[in-house]
């Protein structure tokens, strides 16, 4: 073992960053509140309003995704080039979504 005789390393442990930790817990709280709201919508808005339900769910999901990627994954605080390198390729997902749902509706109308 190359490091068998290594002395214990001296590390300078910094105190917890209270403001940052508080912000992380706030993000978690927001995520939980949105999830609870999703449940409320799922059981109060009747199924007859399908489009409304779907759009509320999609909006809430995107808000949740933004908080997870922005705060937890720290993307908000990265260099702009990195942010755009991750976000721009999402266009392909949107493209696939539109194309496939269009196709699916076409299949069901043919049937």
């Amino acid at each position: 073992m190359a490091h068998a005789h290594q002395e214990t390393v001296h590390v300078n442990v910094l105190p917890p960053d209270r403001a940052k930790i508080k912000k992380l817990w706030m993000t978690a709280l927001i995520l939980l509140i949105i999830t609870i709201l999703e449940f409320i919508v799922a059981f109060t808005v009747p199924h007859e309003y399908k489009d409304l339900r779907v759009w509320i769910f999609i909006t809430m999901t995107i808000v949740k995704a933004a908080y997870i990627v922005g705060e937890f994954m720290h993307l908000r605080y990265e260099v702009k080039v990195l942010i755009w390198s991750i976000l721009i390729p999402m266009v392909f997902i949107v493209w696939m979504l539109v194309a496939f749902l269009y196709e699916g509706m076409a299949i069901s109308s043919v049937r």
């Binding site: 390393v9 930790i21 299949i107």
Partner: protein, 248 residues
């Protein structure tokens, strides 16, 4: 703090070499691009679910009168309404809600481990990594229960031919709706569950290395950050699976 910029010598661009233009190490950058490709994979799965679902007939009656049939796509909240230890109680989506809560909480403990790593606080990293591993294991256990319940089926089952009933699900038949419904359930939640499993293994590796003082000797805890990115991504995917498979 706004977005950070990369410091360069005067007259030189960040892309001339010698600095990281994206302000992130090679490993972290590659983790980001891997996750981007993984996002494509999961989108493909969920969007294909959307295609197949919209190609199937829609159930038009009331939720209350809903009955399982292969003739239309099922309403998810009538399929996933069982909770462990509460036999026979109809609690739509409650168990999935608990699973969502567990995964979000484990994401918080992960990000707290990353924060502790920035401060070189080994004890705190160990503590938060353990909580994260525990959360991941709890989620996997919940999923195992849910799969088992899905496969064995509810007591009502679905009448197939006069006098015969089919219970639960396999890859060919299921009591809930068209065969594709169960196939997508197994594929999407299974693929996500496998990601969670890999994440728990990676988290354990990080925990082990932290305890052994590997990162302390290295002088930084960037590995916690990289695996943290992966773990948050798993949480992110679950947010989408929860919406598009269980809620919509």
């Amino acid at each position: 703090m706004a977005s950070t910029s990369v410091a360069t010598a005067p007259g030189r661009s960040a892309w001339d070499g010698g600095v990281s233009p994206m302000g992130a190490s090679y490993g972290k950058l590659m983790m980001w691009f891997f996750l981007l490709s993984d996002a494509f994979t999961f989108s493909a799965l969920l969007i294909t679910y959307g295609l197949v679902r919209s190609a199937h007939p829609v159930y038009t009656g009331t939720v209350h009168a809903f009955k399982f049939s292969a003739g239309y796509w099922p309403i998810p909240e009538r399929v996933f309404e069982a909770v462990p230890f509460l036999h026979g109680v109809e609690a739509p989506l409650v168990f999935v809600g608990i699973m969502t809560f567990i995964l979000i909480m484990s994401s918080v403990t992960m990000v707290l481990a990353v924060e502790a790593g920035h401060r070189m606080d080994r004890k705190a990293v160990e503590k938060w990594m353990l909580w994260t591993i525990l959360g991941g294991a709890a989620f996997l256990s919940c999923q195992a229960w849910e799969w088992s319940h899905f496969i064995h089926g509810s007591e009502t089952g679905r009448a197939v031919v006069e006098g015969t009933k089919f219970f639960g699900a396999n890859l060919v038949h299921n009591q809930y709706g068209p065969p594709d419904f169960a196939a997508f359930f197994f594929f999407i939640t299974g693929f996500h569950g496998f990601h969670v499993f890999s994440g728990v293994c990676l988290n354990f590796l990080i925990y082990y290395n932290t305890v052994m003082g590997v990162y302390e000797r290295r002088g930084h805890y960037e590995m916690v950050e990289k695996v943290g990115l992966y773990w948050h991504f798993v949480d992110l995917v679950w947010v989408f699976v929860f919406t598009f498979f269980y809620l919509v």
